[in-house]
Amino acid sequence: MQAEMYSLTALGASAMALTLVPRGHNKASLLIGEIAFAMSALLWTASWYPFELPMISVRSTYGLYEDELSYIVSMAAAFVGAMVLPLFFRRGGGNSWQFASTVLLGVAATSVLASTTNPYLILASWGLVSLASYSMVALSGDRDSLIGSIKYAFMSALSFQFLIIGVYMAMFAPVGSKIEALGVLLFLLALGFKAGIPPFHMWLPDVYGFSDPVPVSMLSSTMKLGAFALGIRLLYEVMPTLPTQLGYSIVTVLVVLSVAGMVLGNLAALTQTDVQRMMAYSSIAHVGYMTMALSVLAASAVYKVPQAGYFALLGLLVYFVSYALSKASVFSFISDVRGQGRAILSRFEGLGDTSRESSASVSIILLNLIGMPPLLGFWGKFFVFLSAANPSISIFYAVGIPWFALVGIINSAISVFYYLKVIRAIYRKSAAAASSKALGLPLASSVLLVVLGVLIPLLISL
């Protein structure tokens, strides 16, 4: 518990310290940021030790939970933040330190959001996350980013209303009442906005697809994890107490949202030629898979099948890590290739020859997004689909076939097409090839994905 407080303090203090650094001393700013992240990570790890925490707990101190869920989200956010921070500083310019602040604050807020069910803390952290997110995007200064940021801000404001209403209804209504269920549903609207679930996703393709990819890489990977973690906690608390009919309604909503996400995301990405936009749609698809896990969590409480819930949560945790690492890397790679123009597919051609390490890392990461064993992404999808195929949950079955899991699998298969398009473009021979510097993030991510992917089955059995 102490660790949490100290790390948050570290992050917050650094953010403030950055304002004190004289203009132009980017190296100093960067250093401060990295030290903050390092300290937080250390503190969290020290507190996490000896790694025997439950995946999700119901005991909290000062409203902040200490369990695997909160630590995984916090660590993932910190790691990605630490790796992405230098990218902000690379392009020079006077306001890089502002970027750094937003990143630090965003990570801190995500960490709190993932660890709490206290309504006040929820509101505060969610607000801070939103603020950090659209500031991050706006700070790039170019027209597309500004437009995206505004769209995001508008919709964020709208969703915040529903967040307040939903959370309060869920928290303060009598246990097991209709109001409580309605509260959860309205919260889901807000979650849908933050995560990018259709039909609340409309801002996402514009923001992810056209804005400056560097803040997007931070945005796409970590800022939604907190919201998802909150959703998990909420469902965990509320679902067991609800009457069955209301429980069914929540499960149904989640199923509909999940299918909408998967289908829209994958199909719309199929014919994209702008890789950045393609990755935006693929984010929607991945969120769809994560929502599938949420629906299984909800269903496991309604149908009284704890086994399914366990695997769903496990899958989600693994998915968080894999998704965060992958998406951040991809967008940072795209920012490198894109330069000032658009990240059209033809721009990627020839990179296989000129920038070997980058290409290899990015290829591995794309394979991870596909869900190729033995990478980590495979295990995430595997556990999620496995949990959805649990035969005791009858809503996921039709005529004896686990249709829900099948939809997920088929969509994964469809996604192979557009991911491979990128890999193929990278390795195509081209005379006019740009070259990409060997970026640290893709490299580190790809290594981690491979290593963790191989180790995960062993770790889980422990």
Partner: protein
């Protein structure tokens, strides 16, 4: 007494093959001499083996060496020494030796000599392994080894020069080409025989599952149990049929005879060895090895009635083949083709005789087949070797181009004449005795239709061979012809003399034929009862002799003056139809190609159409375009107008609330 050294009989030729291949690449002459010399070893050893069996009073022996074991059954490599295998090995090895000597001169200058000698020796080794093996799986190995060598040797001149073809170029029957090149002939030989070997292998499986053993000796002991088991399962006749299918194909019986016809594209020495004297006799050996076991076991079990349909089938096929092939030979214009048809025809007689074992005294019937096999080996080899010399001298494979060979090739004429007389069945040549025995048995069996077919075949046999003789040797030569060298000349002259000698000795009480008779019956593993050889009855004897003389006389009369009786441009429609029907091999080949080959080809094209325009089109055109259009439509949702985005948000809200209310009301 350890007889393992006798395994050298079949090992030596393999050794010779291994030596000959690299040697012939550089020193062709030396390689051929080495092969010939090394092939003398099995010849001498098998003579010694026959002596051993004779001296021991016909006690069969066996040696074995374990090769591999599968779940408590071991496959052993070893020797089965009884009368049947010893005599077969004797015949095979001596004829192989003589033909290898012939080949030294015949194949001189050939660029593919290394392949020739390798496969020649490999063949001899496989054949000897086949007849000597004491284990049915190893017998199969030898069997397939002969198939492989046959393929390689038939297609030896794979560059397909036209003078190596069989058939007339450009002649079609029912839309199917009637000629065959060496490369396609090799494949045909392999396909026909391998297809039938499926039956052989299935038969081995059935035999093993019913008897639990693969050793020939044990099988012969267990045969009554095997037959009883199979009969209980209702599989007795199917088993016999399947098991011997390989033998039928190997010995070119109808409907598998086609491969032998086109196999004449190979070198003549190969034709002599493989397609006259040894490989085609493998089928007969097979029947002679297993049918005695079947007969005696069936008698013991009381199943003689149950197995007789199979024997009737065998006899019928044999008689039919004999008749059919003889009729084709009557009109054929190529010398080697006549001899090929003749081989299949004579094999038909052997199968007829084997089939008759269920209707007359079994040991006599089987002995008749055995004796005829040996006779045919002698005279057919002689005929083929002489044919090789003649074809080489006249540079043509057509008998019409050969004329008046008597003048320059006196010894060849003698050898050819002796062999022809034996084939036609004129006493005192050996062919007379056993063919007559077979016809006598057919007469006595009561199956008169088979007798009629066989007798007609005998008439045609004499006719066609003397037609060839007359066309080749009579008349005035158009140019100078000479005898071939001694290496080529001696083998077939010797064989011709042997067939005379064999025939003279046959009926004599000194007991050569009796000795062979014992070898195949009492002293083989089957232990058939030794019955007295019945005397030849007068009526069938006179009929067959008359037939033979008539055929001989008619042929000599017509063809020595080259009178045209049967010709393609005859005036009568029926005669010319008959002629082309016989010339095109009863249209059987054309039927096979039309039905099987072209049929499959058409089916394949049909399937390709389904695959290409059905599945392929679906996967590569229909599906992708469907998904692409969906994708484009979905992307169109992003209008970029923020108010629309907010509206979508509210639409989502509405959706969620609707679901909630539905469940509220329903629940």
């Amino acid at each position: 007494m350890n007889y393992s050294y006798l395994n050298a009989i079949w090992i030596t030729p393999f050794l010779a093959a291994a030596i000959a291949l690299p040697t012939a690449l550089k020193w062709k002459r030396l390689a051929s001499v080495i092969s010939a010399v090394l092939l003398a070893v099995p010849a001498l050893l098998s003579t010694y083996m026959v002596y051993l069996i004779y001296v021991s009073g016909f006690k069969p022996f066996t040696t074995s060496l374990a090769w591999f074991t599968i779940s408590s059954t071991s496959v052993t490599v070893g020797l089965l020494g009884d009368g049947l295998s010893a005599i077969m090995a004797l015949v095979v090895s001596w004829i192989s030796f003589m033909i290898s000597v012939y080949s030294c001169e015949y194949m001189e200058g050939d660029s593919g000599a290394h392949r020739y000698w390798f496969f020649f020796d490999f063949f001899v080794g496989s054949m000897l392994l086949l007849v000597l093996s004491n284990n049915i799986v190893v017998m199969l190995v030898g069997w397939e080894g002969t198939t492989l060598s046959s393929y390689a040797l038939i297609g030896h001149w794979y560059t397909d020069e036209e003078d190596k073809w069989v058939g007339d170029r450009g002649k079609y029957a029912l839309g199917v080409p009637t000629w065959s090149t060496p490369s396609s002939s090799g494949v045909r030989a392999m396909v026909f025989t391998s297809f039938a070997d499926i039956g052989f292998i299935i038969g081995i499986g059935m035999l093993y599952s019913a008897s639990g053993t693969l050793s020939l000796y044990t099988i012969s002991q267990e045969m009554p149990t095997v037959l009883a088991t199979l009969n209980k399962q209702g599989m007795l006749v199917p088993f016999l049929f399947l098991f011997s299918l390989g033998a039928f194909a190997k010995s070119a019986q109808f409907p598998f005879h086609e491969w032998l016809v086109t196999a004449m594209t190979g070198p003549t020495s190969v034709s002599a060895l493989i397609h006259a004297a040894t490989m085609v006799n493998a089928g007969v050996y097979f029947m002679l090895r297993f049918m005695p076991m079947v007969i005696s076991a069936a008698a013991k079990d009381g199943l003689s009635g149950a197995v007789s349909p199979f024997f009737l089938y065998t006899a019928a096929i044999g008689a039919l083949t004999a008749f059919m092939m003889a009729s084709m030979a009557v009109v054929s214009r190529e010398l080697k083709l006549i001899l090929a048809f003749s081989t299949a025809s004579q094999l038909g007689y052997m199968f007829l005789s084997i089939g008759l074992a269920a209707y007359v005294e079994p040991s006599v019937a089987l002995f008749a087949a055995f004796s005829h096999m040996i006779s045919q080996a002698l005279f057919k080899a002689a005929l083929f070797l002489a044919a090789g010399a003649l074809i080489h001298e006249f540079s043509s494979r057509y008998i019409n181009d050969m004329k008046g060979a008597w003048h320059g090739m006196k010894w060849t004429t003698v050898g050819f004449a002796f062999a022809s007389l034996s084939l036609a069945g004129i006493p005192p040549f050996s062919g007379f005795w056993d063919k007559d025995l077979i016809l006598d048995l057919a007469f006595r069996s009561g199956l008169w239709y088979l007798y009629v077919l066989a007798s007609a075949g005998a008439f045609m046999t004499a006719f066609y061979i003397f037609r060839a003789f007359a066309l080749i040797f009579a008349g005035k030569p158009e140019r100078e012809v000479r005898e071939p060298g001694r290496a080529m000349l001696l083998p077939y002259v010797v064989l011709g003399l042997l067939t005379l000698a064999f025939g003279v000795i046959w009926p004599l009480p000194v007991g050569v034929s009796l000795w062979m008779y014992r070898a195949i019956t009492l002293d083989s593993y089957a232990r058939l009862a030794l019955e007295t050889l019945p005397p030849l009855e007068f009526l069938p004897l006179s009929i067959s002799l008359t037939m033979a003389l008539l055929g001989l006389g008619a042929a000599l009369y017509i063809y020595s003056e080259r009178r045209q009786i049967f010709s393609a441009n005859g005036k009568s429609g029926i005669a010319s139809f008959l002629h082309s029907f016989l010339y095109d091999r009863w249209l059987i080949n054309s039927l096979y190609y039309r039905i099987i080959v072209y049929g499959f080809s058409a089916a394949s094209q049909g399937l390709e159409l389904i695959e290409r325009d059905g599945f392929d089109e679906f996967y590569h055109a229909v599906l992708p375009s469907a998904f692409s259009s969906i994708s484009v439509r979905l992307r169109g949702l992003q209008t970029g107008v923020i108010s629309k985005y907010l509206a979508a948000f509210f639409a989502g809200l509405l959706l969620v609330l609707m679901i909630y209310v539905v469940f509220l009301l329903v629940g």
